[in-house]
Assembly symmetry: C2
């Protein structure tokens, strides 16, 4: 039986979802790939850190988090190390970067990743910051050191957007990307449609757990911009940052705008677009009127949609329907299986 040692940076909803899937599929991984996955480190900002070369008991840790919100204080494996220390010093085979998105730079997450790649370790990244701000630099180091750098869960959770283009649309050139990639804004626009105020909708979304404490970066389009930068850097060979994207958020949308659109049989959606025109890449995020007869108009709640247009395969539209946290966890898990398969 082979063994693969994994370090998890971040253990919020996503990290916990990954841990649950690892427990659930433990026997199947052992059977299919003759491999045991051992989590040797978990770092968090507020719950403490765990390092254990013998493997952390995920079931116990999940129970602790459930009960007390933190790791067991008395644990002999508890260490006062931060994520970068772990990336640089702990013995692991795969680093999983799941720290929160850091707007404007994506630097901290990138530092964790570079530290791992410098040591010749594989990296799974669930944080879109490094792709949005430093993709070329990371990709170059990964290639130089023969490491895998995978990041399926950064856009639309575990929906295999990056893998589909990389593995299933071989030799296709991506000419256009379009999508509704931020569910907070989509949810707010839908609420306005139904006569609620933005404030009411945000309060409701926070209560239901899928709108962040401060949704400013969602509402102003910055979260979507980070995703679009990641998408065009990876899929269209671009080298941009979110600052290069023309972004208009939904903060100025009023009920009147929505009613005006409705009178024409349209709905308002925050649409992300990237396309090439005369050899020039254009990337834009802005509210647009979409016909109710278009599939995009039917994407509501927490669902998201992306359309990939290529030279050979025309346009393929993928809707992720009402994802739960498990779907984001699956994105990380699928990346891990890709690494395990190649061991």
């Amino acid at each position: 039986m082979k063994k693969i040692n994994v370090a998890l940076l971040g253990f919020g909803n996503l990290g916990q979802s990954v841990a649950r899937i690892l427990l659930e599929k433990k026997e199947e991984i052992e059977k299919v790939y003759n491999t045991t996955v051992s989590v040797v480190a978990i770092t968090t900002k507020t719950r403490g850190n765990l390092v254990d070369a013998w493997g952390i008991d995920l079931e116990r840790v999940l129970g602790n988090i459930q009960e007390t919100g933190v790791f067991p204080k008395a644990s002999e494996t508890m260490l006062q190390r931060n994520a970068l220390d772990v990336a640089e010093a702990v013995e692991y085979d795969v680093l999983v970067e799941m720290t929160p998105l850091e707007y404007a730079t994506g630097r901290m997450a990138t530092d964790h990743i570079m530290a791992a790649l410098k040591r010749g370790k594989h990296v799974i990244c669930a944080n879109k910051g490094p792709l949005a701000w430093h993709y070329k630099e990371i990709e170059a180091l990964a290639e130089k050191n023969g490491c895998k750098f995978l990041f399926e869960s950064t856009v639309m959770d575990g929906t295999p957007i990056f893998s589909i283009v990389r593995e299933n649309l071989q030799m296709c050139k991506v000419t256009e990307i379009k999508g509704i990639l931020n569910s907070t804004t989509n949810y707010i626009l839908q609420g306005l449609e139904h006569g609620k105020t933005a404030k009411e909708v945000v309060a409701e979304g926070k209560k239901r757990g899928f709108i962040e404490t401060n949704p400013k970066n969602d509402v102003e389009g910055h979260e979507a911009a980070a995703k679009m930068a990641a998408l065009v850097n990876v899929l269209m060979g671009a080298d941009i940052t979110p600052d290069d994207i023309e972004v208009t958020g939904i903060e100025d949308i009023t009920k009147e705008d929505i009613d005006k659109a409705a009178a024409k049989g349209n709905v308002l959606k925050l649409i992300c677009r990237a396309y090439e025109k005369n050899g020039q890449l254009h990337v834009k995020i802005a509210p647009e009127e979409i016909s109710k007869l278009n599939a995009y108009a039917t994407v509501t709640g927490t669902s998201q949609v992306i359309s990939i247009t290529t030279d050979l395969m025309g346009t393929m539209t993928i809707i992720e329907e009402s994802p739960e946290m498990e779907q984001a966890g699956y994105g990380v898990f699928a990346d891990l299986l890709t690494i395990i398969k190649d061991l």
Copy 2:
């Protein structure tokens, strides 16, 4: 430079599309995979057959078909062999089965495939018959002889449905499949909606080239049933034939039915469904009323849609927007690249 010899059975719209892509991507394949693709045989029912161990000049053949509708009669490579003869006797590495779907048995295409697999040759199949009627038998022989058996273009052209589940949704168990998989019926229902008679719509579709001379198998749901049998056999591990599917076509749908649905904010669509309930697989094809607020209602013209639900990834819906013949050709081409990559 490696060389891969390919035999094409069938050279209608699909085969010609494959040939055009092979010409277009010739240099890229040589560069990326250090491999030359050589077509050593083409068989057809009405255009003649070509066999040439040195490689057929695809550009010349496409030109001939364009001009005269048949292969060059005087060609020294012209042979009076049928598809099975070629499958059994010609020297090739990959057989591409593109003969027309044979309802009720799928036998002839299956015979071609089995002949190739018996000889240890790889097979690409664009014909859903073998998957709908004989998948287990073919798959077993392919595995025994270490051959690849790929069939991406059988459902939704080149949309990589089978590859996504096989490669990108690893360890996910498919629990449900749903789709609008027959564009003829979708197009007819849409025409009825707009006040045309079925006869008028069919005539129009034939003129535009995407409705067959005799659309009976489409209208009665048999074409969709062949696709669903293929899907559940491959993706859900079933062993059924289209005869095991409960099929209701659209032949009895009237304008009144459509108006009644419209009054409720619905449209009528021919919906394919497969799901497990109490350990039992249910597969059903029938017209259903779909809310206009659902993405399925927006799938019109020649577009198709499929939703795959898995235990770990929830529901992913994929729309293929207004495919052209090139997209079906791409499905075969992508399968060929998969084989080339592993050479």
